[in-house]
């Protein structure tokens, strides 16, 4: 299969590059098809409660991230059931989450939650905590509050 003899260099010969091009187009097309087929499904929008109230028809039941301030926390550490209300002053929605939260999870704290709406209740899969290289928690909160003020 492989003798250590010098290989002949490629001869000068013009070949029709069409099959190669066609193959490439097919490959890219197929990949694009696979991707875009679920791109719309896998695109997660980030909304505030007020924005969700406006775009409800479009967003209900699909995965989104909702951001706002935490209100009315009800957490049972033994069953790990968490209920709270996410609010931006304009609109608010109840959120359900199953999983542990730390005691840093408090009233009026900014939060970003992943999940989807089922009816009026937001079923959360994940509470997202932003972390950045310039670690600064209040900064994200003020950012969030700024953002919330803009939506009002």
């Amino acid at each position: 299969m492989s003798q250590p003899t010098p290989l002949p260099r490629a001869r000068q010969r013009r070949r029709n590059p069409l099959p190669v091009i066609l193959g490439v187009v097919a490959l890219v097309g197929l990949t694009a098809f696979i991707a875009f087929g679920n791109l719309n499904k896998s695109l997660e929008y980030f909304v505030t409660p007020t924005e969700y109230a406006q775009q409800r028809a479009e967003l209900e039941g699909r995965p989104i991230r909702i951001g706002g301030l935490v209100r009315a926390v009800d957490y049972n550490p033994q069953t790990l059931n968490l209920k709270f209300v996410v609010s931006d002053g304009g609109a608010s929605f109840p959120v359900q989450y199953s999983g542990a939260v730390s005691d840093l999870f408090k009233e009026n704290q900014g939060v970003v939650v992943r999940g989807e709406f089922q009816g009026d209740t937001f079923h959360a899969q994940e509470l997202i905590v932003k972390h950045s290289e310039e670690y600064n928690v209040p900064k994200t909160q003020t950012e969030l509050k700024d953002m919330l003020q803009q939506t009002q």
């Binding site: 000068q12 033994q78 730390s102 290289e133």
Partner: protein
């Protein structure tokens, strides 16, 4: 606007800034000298340019040393030290703070680049490529040293003196891997500048013979190995410190390092087609331009804030500058390649589809499509924002997995076929005969997996392809050993081939780790009480909370939960840091096993010390990812070993290894 130099408040800062400005001056001088040396073909001017690299390297090293001294002496007159270090930190944290934030990391990048340029200046042949390769390195140096000395200088003095620094980012002091990861990553990124410089030199001089490809193979391999290690190290850091039990989230920051890796892997294989057969000349030039540009693109994406990420870094004015440099690289690279297109197109033979180069080329296309799709996913939210005005849309992992899994399997398939195929042309019958044992072993492995209850199609396919790859490489090695009269002899004669085989075996191990841990990960949460009447059962394991205690670490506290899982003790922590009072950093307890990891992380602890909420994650074969990477790096190292027996000059030292 730019406070380039100021002797007001900081002696060390001034020294460092002077060193950087000196480095900038020598970079500019070196660039001009290289250009003149190239245009006039004047060896003496080129020699001066070569020596300018030494001055740049010395001055940037001085800058690094000054910043290191300032960090170790807690000299808070230097802004970077005041903002990213503190007195209370242990020494190793102070040292790693050097690259723990933007300005320092760009300085590290510039320093490594000057070091690579220095090494290049010692190894460059005295040929027509020399001035242009040096000149290209000087262009990169000019940019990075320029950014470092002006808009992102770590040496700017502070306006108000602090008694103590603000301290490093907690997320980065939580694990020693964060000290290593950026260095590995930059070694990979910077290493690609050398093949790029050779490609530009080949284009400018029109010496598009295959010499530049042969020279750059080693450079590319070294860079590629660092890049591979860096990406996996980042994944391991994520696994060890973030407490989610995963290692890869298709985050823009991760993608930014993965795209160069894909393009470089493609380049490593396609240069062999040129080396052995003299084909794909223009392809290689394009590919290295794209690969090097993609390292700059990644930095731009993560520093500009245009892409929302869980860890999009703050960057200030650096993003747009990187975008400018990216545009410059692309325009110059593409412009040169287009200008030289006639010279590059002189051998218009298309590789035969069923041949080793055909397999290499198909693999190259898969890599390119892969890289393009990852880039698309990374940028798509930005497009959505531009088009629909929606903030912060993001593409979930589902999008990436939809193409990454089929493409990865396709690459595994080609990786097994490649080594079997001869160069130039394979006859169909011989190939079929060679493929029979491989296909049989693949089907057998998949059936075995099915019998053992595996049902995920992607996992069964990975298993089949793993067996098929391993059997193929094993048979090839056995046959070569028979012909050469002993395994040791063939290994010594062709380290390059067996290094590549080893790297491929490592990749198979890694792929198995990815497939199994991705498909069969189990995850459960519960709250455990101290002195509970009965142990809690979670994922068929009996969990008991045996103790809770608080530890003061000086610059933060740790809450430690001791848990016994099926009688084995685990200790997992929640750390706080004084710099980030409102944040908790979990330190998971991981029990690594060959067949699976038990991963315990405490998510919440009762302030009264009565209970702790924990999350238990069981993932099979995660360790295979780390071991596989180690095997890959060993294999890549082997390919750099020179063959034991001197071969005749014309013959390639062992036929090239296979494709992915």
């Amino acid at each position: 606007m730019l406070n380039l130099i100021s002797f007001q408040s900081s002696a060390l800062g001034s020294l460092g800034q002077l060193a950087l400005l000196g480095g900038l001056g020598f970079s500019l001088a070196g660039l001009l000298l290289a250009f003149v040396g190239g245009v006039r073909a004047d060896a003496r001017v080129t020699e001066a340019a070569r020596r300018a690299t030494w001055a740049v390297f010395a001055l940037i090293s001085l800058g690094m040393l000054v910043l290191m001294v300032a960090l170790l002496k807690d000299d808070f007159t230097v802004r970077y030290v005041a903002e990213h270090s503190m007195r209370a930190s242990p020494t190793w944290i102070k040292i790693t703070s050097l690259w723990g934030a933007l300005e320092g990391s760009i300085l590290l990048w510039a320093w490594l680049l000057s070091g690579f340029t220095f090494i290049l200046s010692l190894t460059l042949r005295r040929d027509a490529l020399r001035p242009w390769a040096l000149g290209t390195m000087f262009v990169s140096l000019l940019f990075f040293v320029g950014v470092c000395a002006t808009i992102a200088s770590p040496f700017t003095p502070v306006s108000t003196l602090l008694a103590d620094g603000r301290g490093p980012n907690p997320a980065l002091q939580n694990h020693w891997m964060m000290a290593v990861h950026p260095v590995l990553l930059y070694l990979g990124f910077v290493g690609l500048s050398v093949p790029f410089a050779y490609a530009v030199a080949a284009l400018v001089t029109g010496r598009l013979s295959d010499h530049w490809v042969v020279v750059t193979r080693r450079w590319t391999l070294v860079a590629w190995t660092f890049l591979t290690a860096a990406i996996v190290a980042g994944g391991w850091w994520s696994y060890e410190t973030l407490g989610w039990g995963g290692y890869w989230a298709w985050d823009p920051v991760e993608n930014a390092s993965f795209i160069p890796w894909l393009l470089t892997t493609a380049f490593l294989h396609s240069i062999q087609i040129q080396e052995k057969r003299g084909l794909m000349r223009s392809w290689n030039v394009w590919l290295i331009v794209l690969a090097y540009s993609s390292t700059v693109l990644g930095t731009f994406l993560n520093r500009s804030g245009i892409v929302q990420s869980v860890h999009a870094f703050a960057g200030g004015p650096v993003g747009p500058v990187f975008l400018g440099f990216l545009a410059f690289l692309l325009i110059v690279g593409i412009g040169l390649a287009a200008w030289r297109a006639p010279a590059l197109r002189d051998e218009a033979e298309v590789p035969a589809p069923v041949s080793r180069e055909g397999a290499f080329l198909a693999g190259n296309w898969l890599f390119l499509v892969f890289a393009f799709m990852v880039l698309l996913g990374t940028l798509f939210p930005t497009f959505v924002e531009a088009a629909q005005g929606r903030r912060d849309a993001s593409v979930g992992p589902a999008f990436y997995n939809a193409f990454a899994i089929p493409l990865g399997l396709g690459l595994l398939l080609l990786m097994g076929v490649g080594p079997l195929l001869p160069w130039r042309r394979a006859d169909g019958q011989g190939l079929l005969r060679a493929l029979v044992p491989l296909l049989a072993s693949g089907v057998g492995a998949a059936l075995l997996g099915f019998v053992f209850g595996l049902r995920a199609p992607a996992v069964l396919l990975t298993l089949a392809l793993a067996a098929y790859n391993l059997v193929g490489l094993g048979l090839l090695t056995a046959r070569a050993a028979r012909q050469a009269g002993g395994l040791g002899r063939t290994l010594q004669a062709q380290p390059r081939r067996y290094g590549a085989y080893t790297a491929h075996i490592g990749l198979v191990v890694l792929a198995l780790g990815l497939a199994f841990s991705g498909a069969y990960r189990k995850d459960a949460q519960a709250t455990l009480n101290l002195r509970a009447a009965a142990p809690t059962t979670l994922l068929h394991e009996r969990l008991e909370l045996t103790g809770l205690r608080q530890v003061d670490r000086g610059f933060g506290t740790s809450a430690v939960a001791s848990v016994s899982i099926d009688g084995r003790p685990f200790e997992t922590r929640l750390n706080t840091y004084t710099q980030a009072p409102g944040a908790l950093f979990p330190a998971p307890a991981v029990r690594y096993g060959l067949l699976g990891d038990t991963y315990l992380v405490v998510t919440s602890i009762d302030p009264k010390g009565q209970w702790a909420s924990i999350r238990l994650i069981e993932s099979p074969l995660v360790s295979w990812i780390w071991w596989g990477t180690l095997i890959i790096c060993i294999g890549a190292g082997l390919t750099l070993v020179s063959p034991a027996r001197p071969q005749p000059r014309l013959a390639p030292a062992g036929l090239a290894p296979a494709t992915d």
